[in-house]
């Protein structure tokens, strides 16, 4: 038991952290209580909270109006998840976004190379190889900018196209909630408001109603996060002490990667076409990294962006309540109760008749 725990601890220590805005479901009823959570880790598991002083912006856009999420509204669910609870408003397509301040991290050459590999920053890795810089240590400035688009009620509104003005952001070219399973959706990647061409983007999904455990039944040690505390990756400016990269040992043991799913590349206009093959919550991620040639204290700058939304199949639009959860995947309880009563009645009549005849 102890060895797997240590192994898991190492995995958590060594892996880099994507940031996502995550909801239980992105189809939510009007005027209902929901939670918007910041997942700092992978889409499946958050490993750190986000301190309020890191947030440059946190806002929700609906019906043409952008409202800031005040700092005090955020709560730490525990040491791993930061969330805000609120009541959804009127029906419409909503956009939520969070932008974080830049921070620095110092990495040895090996760790930096591993991180580039496992996080899919392959263009920078290739550039380092080509320039013969694979043995150069790195000091990287990184910042994260995340968006989620969710649907309240049935009415589609145009807020999905809102540009939040983040240094890097994904902007869909059509309402994600007008797209259905099996469709493609075009999404533009903007950097400083301009189209970002030839940029690697990774997209994956989890099935709708997916909860927070691994399907494989992997153990989920609730004490690990506390044990980790501040030791990893919630960088506090003290570059150099914390692992940002994946080491080979980790990879061999956990198959942990940030590049699963579809690998896409933006075209000359910063556009990509995302396929939506299954019902589920889709998440896109990209890390745009450049060499920092203007300052001596840095070697690289990276800007991380994610976008999340949910897709469902076409005919469901008119038949279900968009309340995706376990029960949606199973037999609705009331069907079961009515079916049970009918079945028992039929069996009862059958056995009554038999006993009468006997």
């Amino acid at each position: 038991m102890r060895r797997p725990c240590i192994l898991l601890l190492l995995v958590l220590l060594l892996c880099s952290h994507d940031l996502y805005l995550k909801m239980e479901t992105y189809f939510v009823p009007e005027q209902s209580a929901v939670s918007l959570q910041l997942y700092n880790g992978t889409f499946e598991k958050s490993e750190n909270t986000i301190t309020r002083d890191r947030m440059l912006d946190a806002s929700i856009v609906s019906h043409g109006e952008r409202k800031a999420i005040i700092s005090s509204a955020w709560q730490d669910l525990d040491s791993t998840i930061t969330q805000v609870n609120f009541n959804t408003g009127e029906s419409g397509t909503y956009v939520a976004g969070v932008s974080t301040k830049a921070r620095n991290i110092k990495l040895s050459a090996d760790k930096f190379n591993d991180y580039l590999t496992h996080d899919g920053v392959l263009d920078m890795l290739a550039a380092r190889k080509q320039a013969g810089k694979m043995k150069q240590d790195a000091v990287e400035s990184y910042q994260k900018h995340v968006k989620a688009i969710y649907q309240v009620g049935e009415k589609r509104t145009d807020d999905w196209k809102t540009k939040l003005g983040y240094p890097i952001e994904f902007v869909p070219q059509s309402n994600p909630y007008d797209a259905y399973t099996g469709d493609h959706i075009r999404i533009q990647l903007l950097h400083e408001g301009q189209a970002l061409p030839d940029q690697l983007v990774y997209a994956d999904y989890v099935p709708s109603g997916h909860q927070h455990q691994e399907k494989s039944g992997e153990n989920h040690d609730h004490t690990h996060n506390n044990e980790l505390g501040d030791h990893h990756h919630d960088h506090v400016g003290d570059a150099g002490q914390h692992g940002h990269s994946h080491e080979n040992m980790e990879d061999e043991n956990s198959n942990h990667t940030h590049t699963e799913g579809q690998q896409l590349r933006t075209d000359a206009e910063g556009m990509l076409s995302l396929h939506l093959p299954h019902d589920g919550i889709y998440y896109l991620r990209t890390i745009y990294m450049t060499e920092a040639k203007d300052v001596d204290s840095l070697t690289h700058r990276s800007k991380w962006a994610t976008l999340t939304f949910e897709t469902t199949h076409r005919h469901d639009d008119t038949t279900h309540d968009h309340d995706h959860n376990h029960e949606d995947e199973g037999i609705p309880t009331w069907w079961f109760v009515v079916g049970s009563i009918v079945a028992i009645l039929l069996l009862f009549m059958l056995f009554s008749k038999k006993s009468t005849n006997a």
Binding site: S35, L77, H212, G217, F336, S340
Partner: protein
């Protein structure tokens, strides 16, 4: 009105209140758990027991077999002890398994209880296992199923044990609330002349439902794996 019709009408009327619980709750539950504190865990635990038809079917099978209140208390206590052990233990230790497989085993418990109540084992010459032992064993399985469900929520690590205990308390409250109409209905039916037909109907239904649920869960397992 003939007595048989009165009995079926009573069954329908007693089961109707369950429809009020029959709403999709998980997303709402997650929001509730995120905001509602420990009381929310009690509420969600109770709701899950009341809407968990596989648990209710098994309990119905157990209660149907028993005649005295003392026996009901004894068997339900063993079932409760069993599911408390795995619900609290597995959740605390973070032990989980594929929910479809766990639910498939729970479905088998329903099938088993229906067959046992119909004396199926005796008919094919197999000695019926000790009922109390089996109820305790299936209690462990049902608890593991509840634990798997609880672990599917984002609970955070603060007050973790308290949250598990509150969820467990909610499950017990839900179980008591579910047992009241079940015991009442079965007790009422025993006084009727058509009781044997009703007994057979319900237990054959448990067999059919258990088998159907088992096949459904296995199908879902292969569909998602």
């Amino acid at each position: 009105m003939p007595k048989s019709r009165q009995m079926t009408l009573a069954a329908v009327l007693i089961l109707l209140p369950f429809l009020s619980f029959a709403h999709d709750v998980t997303s709402a539950d997650q929001a509730l758990l995120s905001q509602g504190g420990l009381m929310a865990y009690i509420r969600v635990g109770a709701t899950h027991m009341l809407t968990g038809y596989d648990h209710l079917l098994f309990l119905t099978g157990v209660v149907f077999y028993l005649r005295s209140f003392k026996d009901i208390l004894k068997f339900i206590s063993v079932f409760t002890l069993g599911h408390c052990v795995t619900l609290i233990g597995a959740t605390y230790l973070g032990i989980s398994a594929n929910e479809y497989l766990v639910d498939a085993v729970i479905a088998l418990s329903v099938l088993y209880k229906g067959l046992e109540n119909l004396d199926s084992f005796q008919r094919i010459g197999i000695k019926t296992p000790n009922l109390l032992l089996m109820v305790g064993f299936f209690g462990l399985i049902h608890g593991f199923g509840l634990s798997t469900r609880l672990q599917s929520f984002e609970t955070g690590s603060d007050e973790f044990l308290s949250k598990i205990l509150c969820f467990n308390l909610g499950v017990e409250i839900g179980q008591v609330l579910a047992l009241i109409p079940i015991v009442f209905m079965i007790s009422l039916s025993r006084k009727r002349t058509q009781y044997q037909a009703f007994y057979k109907a319900v237990n054959w239904y448990l067999v059919i439902a258990g088998l159907g649920l088992f096949l459904y869960q296995i199908y879902q397992y292969f569909l998602t794996s």
